[in-house]
Amino acid sequence: MTGADRRAAAAARHRLLPEGRVAGPMPWVIAIMMFLTVLAAAAGLGLGTAVQSVGAELAGRVTVQIVEANADRREDYSGRAVRLLRKSPDVRTLHPVDPAVLADQIRPWLGEEAVSGDLPIPALIDVELTPGSTQAKVARLRAILATLSPSIRIEPHAAFLQPLGQLLAALGGLAAGIVLLMAVATAAIVVLAARAAHDSHRGTIDVLHLMGATDVQIARLFQRRIGLDALFGGLLGFTVALLVILLLGARLTATGSDLVGAIRLSWIGWLVLAALPLGGVLLATLAARWTVLRSLGRLL
């Protein structure tokens, strides 16, 4: 069979269903669904990345605070704490926060007095722990530092950012749930549309059936048409969603916040988003095929 012959045969097959859309408003509904699905998936993936980077950032980090009003004693404790911590196998790196930097950071909150030295500011040591159970290491370090002075506190970062991480994770899970529900709704729409298309072309189907066309031959006509309709709707919804994501991304970056800035799409995330319209077409094609085959199965 030559290429031209195959094309002519395909064109003849495609003429079997009349020109134009067979599925009524289905492509537009799919466009809306795809728009929402892509947004939900982008939100889920972006939040997932944020949870991961925030989590990784926080997991192995603690701050040691020396809350001592007397500046000399504070410096003394700070130096001894640093030496003690350096010896601990639980500590990977540490660096004492420069009091000047700290003063700069809190000046907007506490005013000029903060820098004057009248107001006691705790000395801070940022500590990165070695990999492993943060809880156990923190407990050990706390015991070591307690021998030095009760004014020394140790504060794991995860403790105060944990609720935020949990919120991000919950939102991500919600987004994944929405994507799943959208897939179910899309399949349902396609089943209804395929049923309607099947009913309105009943005459053609009966004639083909009585000529000895197989169910699969007939189903292919519909699955192709509905797949094309879904492709149209899917690409439309995807394109609009992409524009919205790019605009939102620019806004997120513009906030300048580390946390908000951590909501980012990895290249895998982009791949997943790009796969959504293709998945939609596949889903629509399969749903249409299943529906038409089921209807045909009721014929002799």
């Binding site: 003849a12 053609t204 004639v207 000529m211 000895g212 197989t214 002799l300």
Partner: protein, 238 residues
């Protein structure tokens, strides 16, 4: 003597009504020309539907080409349907397809290559006198032209059996005569012809044709000829 179609005690019941067809038994031989007559409502269309596999009987055995089609799995039926051409009473042309595409349908269903399809359909269009109407939609064709498209479509794939349900129902006497000539030509090429009609004078016009009559769903054999091989068959038998 091998029968191409065999009905044994076939009964058909639609829903809970009384039987539309009862105890129908007959054999058709390859190469024969058969008329099925009976009053309107006698069950002619129902019997033909059983024959072209649009309907399952409620009881009895139907054998086509030597195989019991009642118990055949569904996926084997298309192969049998491709060996039977049907001219429906209401033609059932696909309205959005041209005359050419309508006639080409059975060949495309069978997967014939387009070049061969083109040759066959063009030849067929000329044969039924519609060579210049290839691109016309059914709605723009006259009743007689539509009927010729329907007949061309039924015979294009060289079926072994041609079934026609009241093909002369809505045409004038002259057209009816020409249709019969067409069927006779096909019959001479070896196609078994089964024509349902209540037009009795028509039957006398085909030499060697045999007649079955349905009366309230029961078959009678007024000429007794069904029990014997058709003349055409006898003539070609070695």
């Amino acid at each position: 003597m091998s029968a191409i179609v065999q009905f044994e005690n076939v009964g058909l019941r639609y829903g809970l009504d009384s039987e539309t067809l009862s105890d129908v038994s007959f054999s058709l031989h390859g190469g024969g020309f058969y008329f099925l007559t009976g009053a309107s409502g006698a069950g002619k269309t129902s019997l033909l539907k059983l024959l072209y596999l649009a309907q399952r009987p409620s009881r009895g055995v139907i054998r086509l080409f030597g195989e019991d089609v009642v118990t055949l799995p569904r996926n084997r039926l298309p192969g049998f349907r491709r060996r039977i051409g049907v001219v429906f009473q209401d033609f059932r042309l696909v309205p959005h397809l041209s005359a050419y595409d309508n006639i080409a349908l059975p060949l495309r269903v069978a997967g014939m290559v387009e070049a061969e399809t083109h040759a066959s359909v063009s030849e067929m269009l000329n044969w039924v006198g519609l060579g210049d109407r290839a691109d016309a939609r059914p709605a723009t064709l006259s009743g007689g032209e539509q009927q010729r498209v329907a007949i061309a479509r039924a015979v294009i794939a060289r079926p072994e059996i041609l079934v026609a349900d009241e093909p002369t129902g809505n045409v004038d006497a002259d057209m009816a005569r020409r249709l019969l000539t067409l069927f006779e030509a096909l019959n001479r090429l070896g196609t078994t012809i089964v024509v349902a009609t209540h037009d009795l004078p028509l039957i006398g016009q085909v030499e060697g044709a045999q007649m079955m009559r349905l009366d309230k769903g029961r078959l009678s054999d007024p000429t007794g000829s069904l029990r014997y091989p058709p003349r055409a068959q006898a003539a070609v038998a070695p």
